[in-house]
């Protein structure tokens, strides 16, 4: 049995389709924790791979998915937690291009994605906000399995 989920954490434009769920007489529809965690990571990877602009809310989302504190994330850039706080506070404001590239490089590494600076730079110049981002859970998992990544 599968279900579609609209919105992940603070990002309402993401929709994840075909998420495996179980049905129980007592509790109704149940989702396994590993599937939930994987959904968050799939959404994070989709944002990076599709070159969507990074705003404060996306930085907050990535940080939450990876379980980092603001100071831990700041340390990745050799900056303070205040820097991260400032980015996150401006929820709908896009980061400056150098900062966005730095954020992309760090999160790509943490999520095990390939990062090519020249390619990213070109893609970011044309990056536009989208109203909805639909990701297929089953398809993404199949791709990850093919790439040799263990999935729930």
């Amino acid at each position: 049995m599968t279900k579609n989920f609209k919105g992940i954490l603070n990002l309402n434009y993401i929709e994840i389709k075909n998420v495996p769920v179980a049905k129980s007489d007592k509790h109704g529809i149940l989702v396994h924790a590993s599937v939930q965690s994987e959904m968050e990571k799939i959404a994070a990877r989709a944002i990076l791979q599709r070159h969507l602009p990074i705003r404060g809310k996306e930085v907050h989302f990535f940080r939450k998915v990876l379980g980092l504190s603001q100071s831990q994330l700041g340390a990745e850039f050799k900056k303070s937690a205040i820097m991260v706080l400032k980015w996150e506070k401006k929820k709908d404001v896009r980061l400056s291009l150098p900062n966005e590239l730095a954020v992309r490089a760090v999160f790509s590494r943490l999520l095990g994605l390939r990062f090519d600076l020249a390619e990213e730079f070109r893609a970011l110049l044309d990056a536009k906000l989208v109203k909805s981002l639909v990701v297929d859970y089953a398809e993404e998992c199949a791709q990850l399995e093919m790439a040799g990544v263990a999935v729930a």
């Binding site: 279900k3 989920f5 919105g7 992940i8 954490l9 603070n10 769920v21 179980a22 129980s24 007592k26 509790h27 109704g28 529809i29 149940l30 989702v31 396994h32 924790a33 590993s34 939930q36 965690s37 968050e40 939450k64 998915v65 990876l66 379980g67 504190s69 100071s71 831990q72």
Partner: protein, 101 residues
């Protein structure tokens, strides 16, 4: 099963990431922007446990962040399908009062 033993099993399951969530809990989690990592952290740092007789669920309260400043909690039950989280919430923690000298 003994309630305390049940609570321990729930905590172990949540820490190991081997639990189920009701869609209601998931909706609340998304609404309240609580990540799965934070739920595991609440379980790991859980400092308060209570059996809620009226709701027939176990209530756990702990910290959501590494700095141990933000509180959070969840209520869960243990049944034949394993540990099931019923709801998740953020909890504002009161600062400890300074005790004189």
């Amino acid at each position: 099963m003994n309630r305390q033993l049940e609570a321990t099993k729930i905590l172990d399951a949540v820490i190991a990431g081997n639990f189920l969530m009701r869609t209601h809990a998931d909706q609340r989690r998304l609404q309240r922007s609580i990540s799965m990592e934070e739920i595991a952290r609440v379980a790991r740092t859980s400092f308060e446990w209570r059996w809620q007789e009226s709701k027939q669920t176990h209530l756990f309260i702990g910290y959501r962040d590494a700095e141990m400043t933000k509180g959070g909690g969840f209520s869960a039950v243990m049944d034949e399908s394993g540990a099931v989280i019923v709801t998740i919430f953020k909890r504002r923690l009161r600062k400890k009062k300074e005790t004189g000298k």
